[in-house]
Symmetry: C2
Subunit: 160 residues, 2 copies
Amino acid sequence: MANNTDGQTKRTSTFREKMIFAEQYCAKNDLQFTPVRRKVLELLLKSDRALGAYELLDLLREVGFKPQPPVAYRALEFLIKYGFAHKVEHLNAFVACIHPGKEHSPAFMICRSCDSVSEMDTLRSDSMLAENLISQGFKVEEAVIEARGLCEACADVEVK
Amino acid sequence: MANNTDGQTKRTSTFREKMIFAEQYCAKNDLQFTPVRRKVLELLLKSDRALGAYELLDLLREVGFKPQPPVAYRALEFLIKYGFAHKVEHLNAFVACIHPGKEHSPAFMICRSCDSVSEMDTLRSDSMLAENLISQGFKVEEAVIEARGLCEACADVEVK
DNA sequence: GATAAGATGTTATATCGTAACATCCTATAG
DNA sequence: CTATAGGATGTTACGATATAACATCTTATC
Ligand SMILES: [Zn+2]
Ligand SMILES: [Zn+2]
Ligand SMILES: [Zn+2]
Ligand SMILES: [Zn+2]
């Protein structure tokens, strides 16, 4: 989680930074960062797994909302549209973006053992892929890359 | 479709080759290439779009089968397991593989205008991606790449 | 306080996918 | 020629994911 001495602090800090960024981005662009939208983003940021829409609905109910499915889907639609979250197609589930505000197509690493989902740090995959496909006559506008396998921690455990 | 003088012939030929390959592969490996499985593969091969499971069910009914959903899903499961077809996650739909028998993770180009789905010719994307992610400590076992954009034909039309 | 735009509440339903169990079909063994 | 076992299919019933459509509320602006 962190390469400083206190994982929790590091994580909380990152979480706060992301929430503040979303706050400011919305203010700047006349977008309403409403309670449901804020809470859904919070829940996604706090999870290291991708969360399904109905899972989010349950979590929202636990904190006092009484939402029907469209509420979750609309919040997710907003977060995805403005780059705060992504959908992981292979899981029909959703994650917070690790670098919101930067134009990019996401690439995910999904661990089959612990179900963790992490977004690639680099944005290189975009250009790699685009160049490759353009040579085949296809004009890429958006791409989804989802790799399944073992995360570092789970690979270490499986050393047998 | 073809760079010979008769697109239909070329396509039919490819279609036949793929069916014969499946036939022989199943015979060699003690797999049953049953009527439903054969028909589903035929339908996928003849389509340039990805087909949903319920769409396949309708098509099967048109040719005399009377299948319930599990029938289609089981045929697809078989075809995917042995490399004759892939699922396009972004569409919740299925396509025939263009190079069955070769171990690979598929990469798709999905046209937003005509809905055509084509699989990448090369298998390079596999190694590209794996190398990239391994450097981040993730061991890729399988990957899904789905690019959305414009196919060559539709890009030409949109020249405005 | 009227108006309009956007957000949310609510119902109902569409779409995608699977668990579970019955039945059939085809080997190969006794 | 049964028996029995495995794989394939038929069938019912449901679970999980997602959206259409319309009512209501909130907020900002005029
Ligand atoms: Zn991202
Ligand atoms: Zn893991
Ligand atoms: Zn393929
Ligand atoms: Zn096209």
